[in-house]
């Protein structure tokens, strides 16, 4: 005996409202103005995105340092099937982008079109969203610099 099994579409949604604190707040404020900033760590390195605490000494960090909105891919993975809520609705690369002036990689989407356009060391530049509000989404993605 076969009996059809029910299927129901469900959705779960919850919006958190978070206070950013001074460091993440500075980062998001800068994004709204099409700028990317990091924070200087105790060893002099510029950490992007900025962290509130030093990764080595755990001390509070506060020296905000502007960096370029262009840099190099240090590692990447191709995402062939983007899911709902991801930065792009077509295949793209997830990449760690080390921006000029930064000493760490920023995880971001690169709208490279096809995986052949991606390689470690390729230069990429930020693409900014329209109607920026002070969110990580203001940085829409990166694109390969021709």
């Amino acid at each position: 005996m076969t009996e059809s099994v029910l299927v129901a579409e469900h959705g779960i949604e919850y919006t958190y409202t978070r206070s950013t604190g001074p460091v993440i707040g500075a980062f998001l404020t800068a994004l709204r103005d099409r700028q990317i900033v990091g924070v200087r760590g105790s060893d002099g390195r510029v950490i992007v995105p900025p962290t509130e605490y030093d990764p080595v000494t755990s001390e509070d960090l506060s020296e905000i340092v502007p960096v370029a909105d262009e840099g190099v891919v240090t590692t990447w993975a191709w995402n062939d099937s983007p899911r709902m809520g991801q930065p792009l609705d077509r295949p793209f690369a997830w990449a760690l982008v080390q921006l000029d002036g930064a000493d760490t990689g920023l995880l971001a989407a690169v709208d490279a079109g096809e995986p052949g356009a991606m390689r470690t060391g390729v230069r990429v530049k930020a693409r900014w969203a329209d109607g920026r509000v002070g969110s990580i989404r203001d940085l829409a993605c990166f694109e390969v610099v021709a």
Binding site: L6, H10, Y14, R18, M84
Partner: protein, 160 residues
């Protein structure tokens, strides 16, 4: 110059297709017909409501089905005083052991002052209108007191 960012909203969203499986599909379709159908374990004889097609204690399929009355006993309850979308506060949720079932299920209790709800209280299912029924648990809107004398403690003490 605009104000610095101090607050950020981070939505989290998940869309998914839920498949309840054969046993629960049958259960939900009986609810659409106004019947609460439990399943009895062939080994330990416990009656599951809602049924899941197997006894989690014995690990065997529960093929035998039986219709439960829709009356039951409050075994545990909670009065919530903070409103939630679709529910005005205060509201009462309770674990109810349906007569003939050996596990409890959670339902709302209404048509009753929250201060009146107590362990052992006898309650009955209130259904949505027949024309509006769908194969889901929402067919039972809530439970309300039957007015019967409270159940004897021994009949629900293992479910408190």
């Amino acid at each position: 110059m605009s104000e610095p960012v101090t607050i950020v909203e981070t939505p989290i969203k998940l869309d998914f297709s839920y498949t309840p499986g054969v046993a629960s599909s049958r259960f939900l379709r009986s609810l659409e017909k106004g019947k609460i159908v439990g399943q009895r374990c062939p080994k330990c004889k416990k009656v599951y409501m809602p049924p899941r097609g197997a006894c989690s204690m014995c690990g065997v399929a529960t093929d035998e089905e039986l219709i439960l009355s829709g009356k039951g006993t409050v075994c545990t309850f909670c009065v919530t005083r903070i409103p939630t979308p679709g529910l005005d506060a205060p509201y009462v949720s309770a674990w109810i052991r349906l007569d003939g079932a050996d596990i409890t299920s959670m339902f709302l209790i209404q048509e009753c002052d929250p201060e009146e709800v107590r362990l052992g209280m006898r309650v009955e299912a209130v259904w949505v209108d027949e024309a509006d029924r769908e194969p889901n648990l929402g067919n039972i809107k809530y439970f309300r007191p039957t007015g019967e004398p409270d159940a004897d403690y021994d009949t629900y003490k293992d479910y408190v």
